[in-house]
């Protein structure tokens, strides 16, 4: 009998994984919430079962039992990085397609992952292990790690009790200020010192392990184009690493050290910050398939979902490290239901028109369709538009072409924003950093040339109802309704 794999997710990632499951010769099983009754991912499934929430482990496992599923793929988000859920699956005899619960747990928080990385000898952002109170110690530590440094509240968050210190003469007063602000905000004046990375890049390494002790890396992804810590554009290779290939090997080795120390198997991603001098520092491990995995697949010619399934069922990795090669350049734009003209506010609602690009070098991981109402209850990712080309300039040109073919009406979206971003000289030169979008000003452009306006009027005139029957006062409101 053909074995079944359940996908505990929704949207584009559920579609992507269900496709991989069918390709691998398994029966594809979906789950859906009441809100998602008409969602696209169901159409890629052989069986589908209702659940009340994608976050309810019991409901998901009950669906797996009903289906008789042998294995479960969590996708990303929801329960994908929940060690207890991975354990529940293992206890229920359902293969969790991902790392073992123990590895998720030991890499689960940033601080736990940092400890694992330090013990494994991977570079982390230099700083003090414990709190610093005395100015002499602060001076010694700061000059050791090099200015600028950040003073951070040990109990803190949200920038409270945080001070940027450019030089030693500012250190003492900054330490005092940070400590008293921390005391007021968190009732603990404890602060620590960390190297301040100014305009770092966010570069991550895809790793993969089987259950037989083989661990490889599949190179990097550049993810510096972010807004509010949300990635927006990702690429492989990183424009920085492409100019400095030994970095790929060094970062890959560092990622594998952390993975080995945590007993890691299956797909994972080690995130690094990279400073202006190309020093890299381990940040955290994402113990799941990443949203941006397609750019790695396009450049390395692997299928990570197939690899995940094979490894989970106990197969040995077919590729060794030396078999992994990188060819060409891939870029992904995350198409979000958000309004770039209005502070990127989310924009759920009905998709009245949807035209997606195709042709050479295009990969579209899509989760929506024309006529569907994007619910307000889930995140605003509609689709991931990816391109591959021989090199980065050609990939940018191809993405611009693809975005030109993309038309979405009915909900606000960031297609026009991407068209502008790709024209930006800074983006084109590859000089990226995590603050890039703060300095990039999107200007909505709804100005038509004279002949465009004439063309638009011609269409409106031909679509117009006979004047005698048109409801006179309704005309204007019809056209301004969203």
């Amino acid at each position: 009998m053909v074995q079944k794999i359940l996908v505990a997710n929704r949207g584009e990632i559920a579609v992507r994984v269900l496709r991989g499951i069918r390709e691998a010769g398994f029966t594809a099983v979906a789950v859906f919430t009441p809100i998602d009754r008409g969602a696209l991912h169901l159409s890629h499934a052989d069986e589908a079962y209702p659940v009340d929430s994608y976050l309810n482990p019991d409901a998901i496992l009950a669906a797996a039992r009903r289906a008789g599923a042998t294995a479960l793929h969590p996708g990303y988000g929801f329960l994908s990085e929940n060690a207890d859920f991975a354990q529940l699956c293992a206890d229920a005899g359902v293969l969790f397609i991902g790392p073992p619960a123990s590895a998720i747990r030991s890499l689960g928080s940033k601080t736990a992952a940092r400890d694992v990385a330090i013990a494994a000898g991977a570079p982390v952002v230099p700083g003090t292990d414990g709190p610093v109170t005395d100015i002499a110690e602060a001076r010694r530590v700061a000059s050791q790690i090099g200015y600028p440094v950040l003073i951070k509240a040990a109990a803190g968050g949200g920038g409270k009790g945080m001070r940027l210190v450019e030089k030693e003469s500012e250190l003492e007063s900054a330490l005092r200020d940070a400590s008293s602000e921390a005391e007021r905000s968190f009732r603990s004046g404890e602060v620590y010192i960390e190297k301040a990375l100014i305009h770092p890049r966010h570069i991550e390494i895809q790793i993969f392990g089987d259950n037989h002790g083989h661990l490889i890396h599949l190179g990097e992804r550049e993810c510096s184009i972010q807004r509010r810590h949300q990635k927006v554009v990702e690429e492989c290779p990183s424009p920085l690493v492409a100019r400095n290939l030994p970095m790929r090997h060094a970062m890959g080795e560092a990622a594998l050290k952390v993975a080995r120390a945590a007993g890691y198997t299956n797909a994972g991603t080690a995130e690094f910050l990279v400073d202006a001098d190309s020093n890299f520092y381990f940040l955290e491990m994402n113990t799941r398939l990443q949203v941006e995995h397609p750019v790695t697949e396009l450049v390395t010619s692997v299928d990570l979902v197939h690899m995940q399934i094979e490894a989970a069922f106990g197969a040995e990795l077919q590729r060794k490290q030396e078999d992994i090669t990188w060819r060409g350049s891939a870029i992904q734009c995350r198409l979000y239901a958000e309004d770039p003209a209005n502070q990127f506010f989310p924009s759920p609602g009905r998709i009245d028109r949807l035209r997606m690009p195709s042709g050479p070098g295009i990969r579209l991981d899509n989760g929506v369709y024309e006529g569907w109402t994007v619910p307000m209850d889930y995140d605003p990712l509609l689709a991931k538009l990816c391109v591959w080309a021989e090199d980065r300039p050609r990939a940018i040109a191809r993405m611009a072409r693809a975005l030109g073919e993309t038309e979405i009406l009915g909900i606000a979206n960031n297609v026009a924003f991407f068209r502008q971003l790709l024209q930006d000289p800074g983006f084109q030169s590859g000089q990226l950093h995590t603050g890039f979008l703060k300095t990039f000003a999107y200007t909505p452009d709804a100005t038509l040339t004279e002949s465009e306006l004439e063309a638009a009027i011609a269409i409106l005139a031909s679509a117009e109802a006979p004047p005698a029957t048109a409801a006179p006062t309704a005309i204007r409101s019809n056209w301004s309704r969203r």
Binding site: A337, D339, N342, Q343, F345, P346, S347, P348, G349, R350, D352, R353, R355, M376, D377, Y378, D379, P380, L403, G404, T406, E407, L409, G410, A412, V415, A416, R419, D445, A446, T447, L448, S451, E452, L453, E454, A455, A456, I457, A458, I459, L460, A461, S462, A463, E464, P467, A470, P472, T473, I475, R476, N478, W479, S480, R481, R482
Partner: protein
């Protein structure tokens, strides 16, 4: 034929010759218009919006004979409705009836797609009515607050 071209903030009388442009219907909702110099313009419409060569615009035509009535419709009171720009759930109401508000003052907070957004006053005024309550799910275009 005479028509009034309406955009969100302007209106202009124009004269249209419906036969002037060559049109090719594509898939539903999309038409190509070839202008006199041979340029191809791709126009997609749906849900009351237009995409002209990928640029989203708000344009509509009105009959000049209805102009007076259109003008009157906007003039019948000094009240202004603040509408939801997108669907969402009301998380917090920040004003009450009778309260005076400045331009850009927060009126209420809507949540959608795991993000909270403050709806702000389009101008100074007095809150005449709050049309929604905490916990309500609102549709796009629904009136949230009426100002006067």
């Amino acid at each position: 034929m005479k028509r009034i071209l309406l955009t969100p903030d302007t209106e202009k009388e124009i004269d249209i010759d419906p036969s002037s442009a060559e049109r090719h219907a594509l898939e539903t909702g999309t038409t190509l218009v070839l202008d006199k110099s041979g340029r191809v313009h791709k126009i997609t419409h749906g849900g009351g919006r237009l995409l002209v060569n990928g640029k989203e615009v708000q344009l509509s035509l009105a009959d000049p004979r209805n102009r007076r009535r259109n003008a009157n419709a906007g003039n019948d009171s000094g009240r202004r409705d603040v509408k939801a720009a997108m669907p969402g759930k009301v998380i917090k109401v920040l004003v009450e009836p009778g309260q005076t508000v400045e331009a850009a003052a927060g009126l209420l907070i809507l949540e959608a797609m795991k993000m909270q957004n403050e709806v702000r006053s389009p101008g100074p005024g007095t809150v005449a009515a709050v049309r929604v309550a905490v916990g309500d799910t609102v549709a796009s275009g629904q009136v949230l607050v009426t100002l006067e």
